[in-house]
């Protein structure tokens, strides 16, 4: 087969090392460039929102339900707020929060997975049983149930998402750690006196983290959608906080004023696509054998 799962890939380890070269190569593809550009623009907009917004996103200063015009490029909503300002400001909640969420989930999952994979035994049993339990339920429904039982608030929505998403990272990390810890360079390090923790930090994690990070990149889009979904259902951002999901929900209730939901909807679409473009490109830069690990999604 040499050539099956890994189309005749040389030396899994060399490829792993070569990844530092390969990511830039992968990133040269047009979709990846587009994705990165969109993400960078959105992040800038989110950071600069207070400065560049034409109006206060919370102020109900204007006539209600005005269609887009020169004064209000995206129109105004049912409470007379400027939709453009709300979309810009909403980027902070709707992009940055999911991003932080994915980072924390990655962090928690990687630590749990490393412990399970490297130390094994009881730790492995306990951690993986909990993970299995979470896996037994459909992600979105579980997140909704947890968010609902904690009460509607952004924090609770994020906690709910964290609970449902870390096990995927833990699983992937665990299986990569199990294989990596058998590597002769890890063992050679231990023979030279590395403690298990040093060995994990110095020899194991740096060599397996790439696919886990790629998985995380692929998940940002889903996390944005999930948070928007929870907010849409009233389980996330509480009014008047500007949030894209909640804004789409407002628009649905004011059906004839399309601009209220279409602009935040487009915002969600562009960001989600951008993260998926980037994630896919990064995945293509991975060694095909570790890329297998990235087939599933956390969310």
């Amino acid at each position: 087969m040499s050539q099956t799962t890994a189309p005749a890939q040389p030396d899994v380890l060399a490829v792993a090392a070569r990844r530092r070269m390969r990511f830039p190569v992968a990133l040269r593809n047009p979709l990846a460039i587009t994705g990165t550009a969109i993400i960078v623009i959105w992040l800038l907009l989110a950071l600069l929102a207070p400065m560049i917004s034409p109006a206060d996103p919370l102020a109900q200063d204007f006539d209600r339900l005005q269609p887009p015009s020169a004064a209000h490029l995206f129109g105004t909503d049912q409470l007379g707020r400027d939709v453009l300002s709300r979309v810009l400001d909403g980027a902070r909640v709707s992009i940055i929060l999911p991003l932080l969420l994915v980072v924390s989930s990655l962090f928690v999952g990687t630590i749990a997975g490393s412990i399970a994979g490297y130390f094994g035994k009881v730790a492995d049993e306990v951690i993986m049983r909990i993970a299995d339990l979470v896996f037994a339920f459909p992600t979105i429904i579980l997140a909704m149930v947890i968010a609902a039982s904690l009460g509607p608030s952004l924090t609770n929505a994020v906690i709910a998402m964290l609970i449902v998403s870390w096990p995927a990272y833990a699983r992937v990390t665990r299986s990569l750690v199990v294989v990596a810890s058998r590597s002769e360079y890890v063992v050679a390090g231990r023979l030279l006196g590395n403690s298990p923790l040093t060995s994990l930090g110095k020899d194991i994690l740096p060599n397996i983290i790439a696919p886990v990070v790629v998985l995380a990149t692929l998940d940002v889009g889903t996390a944005i959608l999930l948070l928007a979904g929870l907010s849409f259902l009233g389980l996330g951002a509480v009014p008047p906080t500007p949030d894209w999901g909640a804004m789409v929900s407002d628009g649905v209730q004011n059906f004839s004023s399309w601009w209220i939901s279409v602009f935040p909807g487009l915002a969600i679409l562009t960001v989600v696509l951008a993260f998926n473009f980037l994630g896919d490109a990064l995945r293509d830069g991975l060694d095909p054998r570790t890329a297998d690990a990235v087939k599933g999604r956390a969310l």
């Binding site: 030396d11 060399a14 090392a17 360079y185 050679a188 030279l192 006196g193 590395n194 298990p196 060599n207």
Partner: protein, 259 residues
């Protein structure tokens, strides 16, 4: 001669799904003195690497014991290695797997230097020169090297740690004959100069003949023959040893398949 390493009826087995345990090393007793170079030869899969791993504390023993310089060798497991046992170092069989892909060659050789009791024994450029690699190798990463070059880097790292017992698992199998002779010579000299011992695993008797004083022949997990290397070479007692000798391809250009 005092013995540095003492193996007493060592047995190691592996779990295999749906089968009885596979006994890889079966009742092996062996002793190795200081400044001694012992070659270990045997067919593929007979348990040489397993025995080497057991000596380094990487496999649990089913029965028997291993003692190094008075200290019992116990399974490493999830502890930091006993300081005394740091004096045993190993060069692993697969040169592609034995270097961390994300760290420079220099850093990895320095890891070895750090455990050398005599800190000034070596410098990285010294070691690189000894294994015939360019000093510029220091800042490069493993994937930039060929199989044989990596094998030499792994040897340099092991030598850097100044071990009392160096276990080499086919350490020079990927080198051509002339380099093999030089690196084997280097390993032997180092062992003798620093008062260390060498356990040199190879499937190739003609290599072992050059480097070792004694040779042990392993077959199916057991040591079947041990003796002075030249005696075994010229007068092998066991049928398996004879087979090992007769199947060495001759370099005569005639295209005769051995065996």
């Amino acid at each position: 001669m005092t013995s540095l390493l003492e193996l007493d009826s060592v047995k190691v087995s592996y779990r295999v799904a749906g089968k009885p345990r596979l006994v890889a090393v079966d009742d092996v007793s062996l002793s190795l003195g200081t400044r001694q170079v012992l070659g270990l030869v045997g067919e593929s899969g007979c348990g040489k690497s397993t025995l080497a791993r057991a000596i380094c504390g990487l496999e649990g023993l089913d029965s028997g014991s291993i003692t190094f310089d008075g200290t019992p060798v116990t399974r490493l497991g999830m502890r930091t290695r006993d300081r005394k046992l740091l004096r045993i170092q190993m060069v692993f069989q697969n040169p592609y797997a034995s270097l961390n892909p994300r760290r420079t060659i220099g850093k990895q050789i320095e890891d070895g230097l750090k455990v050398n009791p005599d800190r000034s024994a070596w410098t990285v450029p010294d070691l690189l020169a000894h294994v015939e690699l360019d000093a510029s190798a220091r800042t490069r990463f493993p994937h930039q090297f060929s199989g044989g070059q990596r094998q030499r880097i792994a040897i340099a790292r092991a030598i850097a740690s100044g071990p009392d017992l160096l276990v080499g698992d086919e350490p020079i199998a990927s080198l051509d004959a002339s380099l093999q002779a030089r690196v084997a010579g280097l390993m032997r000299n180092l062992a003798l100069e620093t008062g260390a011992s060498l356990l040199f695993i190879s499937h190739d008797l003609s290599v072992v003949r050059v480097i070792a004083d004694d040779v042990a022949v392993m077959s199916r997990g057991k040591i079947v023959e041990r003796g002075d290397v030249n005696e075994v070479w010229s007068n092998p007692q066991q049928p398996y040893t004879q087979q090992l000798l007769s199947a060495i391809p001759k370099v005569d250009g005639l295209g005769i398949l051995p065996g």
